[in-house]
């Protein structure tokens, strides 16, 4: 029995380690391949050296330097940061405001509008992108940052999450604020929002990631390469001769770093978000 137990434990440990290697090796290969000369990537291919950077520290940032010289990476990064920040802040304010209305205000047709919003929840945004494009075209927004930002500012799921969250805030706190002469906007901005940090963190993180990773929509609505977000720029760079693996891996790494930071700090809100919503759109 004791022997048997130790054997299973050993098998589980070996399995865990092998799976860990299987899951992490592409990320490691991506990072270290950016840190060596192109010839070394091919020389090392298939040996353990594929997973080690160049022995000379002077090689480590060479491919980064070259790719920054060849392409306007700073601009693409700036575009992505602009789009993602605008989406994050806008999505928190707009969805929280709608959630606040649904949770605390008794207006006419509330049930109908809430039902409509829940119905919109099932429409797969990916399939209506052609007519969405026609709308943006008619609004004369093609090739503007608004075309990338506006459609991401409201999501039925996030309104729903804020509604659920605000319903749980006690009525007494709101009434106390009301007696002190605060109006609804004051209560929303100064009482409700500061109390809803977990919901804000969840919606903010999901919105940031959604915008940062957005690819097909910006590819459609942005025609001027100066306004490309990073994801679109990456596929463009990958199709621009001459293509060097170390430079491509450098740009892939640059695109991934902000997400690593976000996941490190906000991971717990992401899981909560999916569990609480019960619908779990990524």
């Amino acid at each position: 029995m004791e022997m048997n137990n130790r054997l299973t434990k050993l098998v589980f440990n070996i399995l865990s380690i092998m799976l860990a290697l299987l899951f992490i090796f592409p990320l490691v290969w991506m990072i270290v391949s950016a840190m060596k000369p192109e010839a070394a990537i091919f020389n090392d291919m298939g040996t353990l050296n594929s997973f080690l950077p160049s022995q000379h520290i002077s090689d480590w940032f060479q491919s980064y330097k070259t790719i920054f010289d060849r392409f306007d990476i700073i601009r693409y990064l700036g575009n992505s940061i602009l789009y993602a920040s605008a989406v994050t802040i806008g999505s928190i304010l707009i969805n929280a405001s709608a959630g606040y209305a649904f949770a605390t205000i008794d207006f006419k047709f509330k049930k109908v509008l809430f039902g409509l919003m829940i119905a919109l929840l099932v429409i797969p945004a990916e399939t209506i992108m052609i007519t969405k494009f026609v709308v943006v075209q008619r609004l004369n927004l093609i090739n503007t940052p608004f075309a990338v930002i506006l459609p991401l500012l409201s999501t039925p799921l996030y309104i729903y999450m804020f509604t659920v969250f605000f319903r749980a805030v006690s009525k007494e706190i709101q009434e106390a604020a009301m007696i002190e002469g605060a109006n609804k906007l004051d209560i929303f901005l100064k009482v409700m929002l500061p109390m809803s940090k977990p919901a804000i963190a969840t919606v903010g993180t999901l919105s940031f990631i959604m915008s940062w990773n957005d690819y097909i929509w910006p590819l459609m609505v942005i025609t001027n390469s100066d306004r490309y977000p990073l994801q679109v720029a990456i596929t463009n760079i990958n199709n621009t001769e001459p293509v060097y693996i170390n430079q491509i891996m450098a740009i892939l790494t640059i695109s991934t770093i902000p997400l690593i930071i976000i996941y490190v700090f906000f991971q717990k809100y992401l899981v909560q978000g999916m569990g609480a919503s019960g619908t779990g759109e990524k």
Binding site: I24, G46, L93, A98, F107, L113, E126, L153, P156, Y215
Partner: protein, 299 residues
């Protein structure tokens, strides 16, 4: 009378503030979700061509008739069903397996978690390009390792037989870590006393797993299975970046075909008909999901 007027005034104020708080969200949802949906339904009955919108005419169900005889549409639907059927057990099974492994580890759990979760931090574009290089038939790392181990090198994405299954594995590899975290949260909700009681009753490892763990994970599993299903139907970035739908259309998916028809070729009318049919398929799966998971909507 006096009281009634005050109450009405108060209600009016409530209405106005309600609509004001709601309006930004509803303008956005209206413009970019509701109106495009209605437009898709309307345009599906027309021959709208993006470059000559003024010459649009009503053509009834012609787009739908054409659609049912379109070999590429049929191929793309077959492709997506292949993808969905393969990725469901592979990704969800992997996620559950990883969660169980992590849950049973006593030491270094954080290191395993980080390793399994690491693919999630990359965007789908990054993942697709990265694997494009790893899977290169001649110089890619995977084939170099296979050949060192004495296997033949594989064409992967450049073979009509292997391309879709390769995309399944890359997608499952990318998505499993996130679902592992949700399974882990589910596992940690199972009270320890249940296992202790079972140990006293003489249950072995397998009995504990099949009689306690699995049944108690049922809500989590249903949630994960259904979201995987619906997400899988939307597959587009991986084939777009890795294979452009090839070779021989073996990785062309409906979402990608809609994009090509409506955006690249500008046949908005025909693409809208595809949107209506394919959207209806996804929506029906979503509605079934909501029925199974339950408890959504207004109470």
């Amino acid at each position: 009378m006096e009281i009634n007027a005050t109450a009405r005034k108060k209600q009016l104020k409530e209405n106005i503030s309600g609509y004001l708080f709601l309006s930004p969200a509803f303008i956005i949802l209206g413009l970019f979700l509701f109106i495009p949906t209605l437009m898709s339904i309307y345009y599906s009955l027309t021959d709208y061509y993006m470059l000559t919108p003024d010459k649009t005419s009503f053509i009834g169900l012609d787009n739908f008739k054409k659609l049912f005889n379109d070999p590429l549409m049929r191929q793309s639907i077959l492709n997506i069903f292949k993808f969905v059927i393969l990725i469901m057990p592979i990704q969800v099974g992997t996620a559950l397996g990883l969660a169980l492994l992590v849950n049973n580890q006593e030491k270094h759990t954080i290191i395993y978690k980080i390793a399994y979760f690491s693919p999630v931090v990359m965007s789908l574009v990054v993942v697709s390009i990265l694997w494009l290089y790893l899977l290169n038939p001649s110089s890619g790392l995977i084939n170099q390792v296979l050949m060192k181990m004495g296997f033949e090198s594989q064409p992967f994405l450049s073979s009509p037989n292997q391309a879709m299954i390769t995309i399944v594995f890359v997608s499952a590899w990318q998505g499993a870590g996130y679902q592992m975290l949700i399974f882990l949260a589910g596992l940690q909700n199972i009270p320890n006393e249940v296992y202790e009681a079972a140990t006293i009753d003489g249950a072995n490892r397998w009995e504990k797993f099949s009689k306690i763990t699995l049944p108690m994970l049922k809500p989590t599993s249903i949630l994960i299975l259904t979201t995987t299903l619906i997400d899988a139907f939307k597959l587009i970035i991986q084939p777009m970046v890795m294979t452009q739908g090839g070779p021989l259309n073996s990785t062309l998916t409906p979402a990608y075909y809609i994009y090509r028809t409506g955006f690249t070729d500008r046949f908005v009318g025909y693409a809208s008909a595809m949107t209506v049919i394919y959207g209806a398929i996804i929506i029906s799966f979503t509605v079934i999901q909501r029925k199974i998971v339950g408890g959504d909507g207004d109470e």
